[in-house]
Amino acid sequence: MSINNYLYLSAILFTIGAVGVVVRRNAIVVFMCVELMLNAANLTLVTFSRINGTLDGQVVAFFTMVVAACEVVVGLAIIVTIYRSRRSASIDDASLLKR
């Protein structure tokens, strides 16, 4: 098996995550799709670390996880705040930008 298979898998997961971000309306699901995309990217980093024979890729993947954790914390806080004022977790309801 070629190691490239991991990269293909990562590309496919990333694409699915991107579609999810666009297609789903529940803000939490959208968020989860973003996490999926980040994880797919992490898989690429780990795979390239293996290909290159250095651990730098893994370090970057580690940082990605930390940043993703931060993002989740802040993002969910925003969702909760919006939900509190609008009683809705649908991101289509937060469409005031057009006015």
Binding site: A18, V19, V22, V23, V30, S95, L97, K98, R99
Partner: protein
């Protein structure tokens, strides 16, 4: 020329009064009128002092100047703010300050119940200062400052009771019609500067001989336009009647004795221009002749005592303009009539004010009648003015008007007969309508309501009237005795020698008296010996109706200027809206429509933005793919 540093006080004193009364505001309410009157009187005193000094000098040294400051100095063009007091100016200075002071005194009592008496006196002082600047300026530019100043004072005083919209409109009308005249004056100044390179009286006079006749004619016509506007001559006469909206002392001072005669002053002062431009001079005569008839005819139909007097003023100034247009022979008589008119017309206006004062501000003469018994002093002073204006010897008008008629007859050619006859006919009509005013007001039967309590005015009011009445009696005789005024003014004008005599003075005087007697007789028959309606009858001939409508002056102005002007402005507004605004709005509309088209891509939905990012990423990858293949 002799310099005299005292001239500035003539103007400075009333100007100081105007400024201090306006700036101090209500604080000066208690004593403002006294200060203004005192300053006006002291200006008169300075004038008398100047006269006595002038009399002490030899003829050629009589004019004096004072340079105040260098006003404009651009390259070769220099204008100094200088004052010039010569034989002509001193007449005006004394008339303005003398009559002005009397009217100040009169106004103390007349305006005593008005809240804004202080403001009124401030404006009066402003007027005196501006009018003095007008007659004392040594160049057309200096004159122009005073010219605008009196226009402003006139506007402020006509609209003094501007809480009444009609009065405010009247002041605007006067201001706008005066603007046309002012345009003429500014054009005259521009032409003089452009073609002669100077705007001072002496400068223009020097150039007058060798400048082309066309230039002088252009300047002359423009000066005539200025005079026509300021002096309410045909065809810019319409504002004077409405100007009677102002308080009566204003009508007496500004719209009878002084400001409206500024046109005559301008023409006489510019004698060198008109002497060099016969066409312009002819136009002056025509304007004068038309206006003297016009005013007289309007005067026969007016029931408003002030408007009747205003029409009479217009007519009398027509006489002056006519005289001023007759050349060197007429200048002195025009000025003489101006001075005598200043006395008797101011006196009559004050008399009218006195009558209104006693009649609860009623101005309709058909509601007067038999006031002789209730206001004997007013009756007598008014009567002296009346005798003066119709030209009964030995009252003032007899001398001055007779001279004018005589000069008209002797001006040579066919026009002389025409002008002379017009002037004679005007005298008859003047006699008619002034007799009408007299009878309707004082001698006919009583036509006022019982709730009116006519009474004589206080001494502060009748004293000025009495002094003016004395002037009405004596001034003509004094000024014409031994051709006093003519000789006095002689050095200013270039004499062309005597014209041939068409009619001898005796014949003219007899004819004039005959015409006056005729006018008086008709008026007596029509109003004294038959009853007068308290309400103006409506079933009258078309001529009366036209005369009551001021010979359709407003209708003609409206038809010729106002309506086309309104159409023009409406059209311009349309053009502005459709073309100019259209272009501006079109640009805006374009931005808006392109914006709203672009806005459709902005749904506000986060997901559609995410989709665009996805599409962008796909395109990017496709580009990389294409490049690396």
């Amino acid at each position: 020329m002799v310099t005299n540093n005292g001239l500035v006080y003539l103007i400075a004193l009333p100007l100081f009064g105007a400024l201090s009364l306006l700036l101090l505001g209500r604080r000066a309410d208690k004593w403002g009128h006294l200060l203004a009157t005192a300053l006006s009187a002291s200006s008169f005193a300075v004038g008398l002092l100047q006269l006595s000094q002038m009399l002490g000098r030899a003829t050629e040294n009589r004019p004096v100047t004072q340079k105040l400051f260098s006003w404009i100095s651009v390259g070769s063009f220099k204008v100094d703010a200088s004052l010039l007091l010569d034989q002509l100016s001193i007449c005006f200075v004394l008339l303005i300050t003398g009559v002005g002071t009397l009217i100040h005194i009169y106004s103390i009592s007349y305006m005593s119940h008005d809240h804004d008496r202080r403001r009124f006196f401030a404006y009066l002082n402003l007027f005196i200062a501006a009018m003095l600047l007008l007659v004392l300026g040594d160049s057309y530019l200096n004159l122009y400052v005073g010219w605008e100043g009196v226009g402003l004072a006139s506007y402020l005083l006509i609209g003094f009771w501007n809480q009444k919209p009609a009065y405010a409109t009247a002041s605007k009308k006067a201001f706008v019609m005066n603007r046309i005249g002012d345009m003429g004056l500014s054009f005259a100044i521009m032409i003089a500067f452009a073609s002669l390179g100077t705007v001072s009286f002496t400068g223009v006079k020097e150039h007058a001989h060798h400048a082309s006749e066309a230039t002088m004619t252009a300047i002359g016509i423009m000066l005539l336009v200025a005079a026509v506007g300021k002096s309410a001559q045909f065809p810019l006469q319409a504002w004077l009647g409405d100007a009677m909206a102002g308080p009566t002392p204003v009508s007496a001072l500004i719209h009878a004795a002084t400001m409206v005669t500024a046109g005559v002053y301008l023409i006489v002062r510019s004698n060198f221009v008109f002497d060099a431009a016969p066409t312009a001079q002819l136009l002056v005569v025509i304007v004068g002749a038309i206006t003297l008839m016009f005013g007289a005819l309007v005067g026969t139909a007016k029931d408003d005592i002030k408007k009747a007097l205003a029409a009479s003023t217009m007519s009398q100034i027509g006489y002056m303009i006519l005289g001023a247009g007759l050349g060197p022979a007429g200048y002195a008589f025009a000025i003489m009539h101006l001075l005598t008119h200043g006395f008797f017309k101011a006196g009559m206006f004050l008399g009218a004010g006195s009558v209104m004062h006693g009649m609860n501000d009623e101005v309709n003469m058909r509601r007067y009648g038999a006031l002789r018994k209730f206001m004997p002093i007013t009756f007598i002073t008014f009567g002296f003015g009346y005798l003066a204006i119709i030209g009964v010897p030995p009252f003032a008008g007899f001398y001055s008007k007779d001279m004018l008629i005589e000069t008209a007859f002797n001006s040579g050619g066919t026009k002389a007969i025409l002008l002379g006859s017009t002037a004679l006919l005007g005298a008859a009509i003047t006699a008619f309508y002034m007799t009408r005013v007299m009878i309707l007001t004082f001698t006919s039967t009583k036509r006022w309501d019982d709730n009116q309590h006519p009474h004589e005015s206080p001494i502060l009011m009748w004293l000025p009237m009495a002094i003016l009445a004395i002037g009405s009696v004596t001034s003509g005789f004094l000024l014409s005795r031994g051709s006093a005024l003519k000789n006095w003014l002689e050095p200013l004008f270039e004499s062309h020698g005597e014209h041939e005599e068409l009619l001898s003075p005796m014949v003219v005087s007899s004819l004039a008296l005959l015409m006056v007697a005729l006018g008086v007789a008709i008026a007596v028959m029509k109003y004294q010996l038959s009853d007068v309606d308290a309400v103006a009858p409506q079933d009258v001939s078309i001529f009366t109706r036209i005369a009551r409508r001021d010979l359709l002056q407003d209708d003609i102005n409206e038809a010729l200027f106002m309506r086309p002007g309104q159409v023009l402005t409406a059209a311009l507004v349309k053009v502005d809206e459709s073309v100019v605004d259209g272009a501006v709005r079109g640009i805006g509309q374009m931005a808006i429509s392109s914006g709203s088209t672009l806005r459709r891509t902005q749904t506000g939905f986060v997901r559609s933005y995410a989709m665009l990012i996805l599409v962008g990423a796909a395109v990017l990858i496709a580009a990389i793919w294409v490049v690396t293949q």
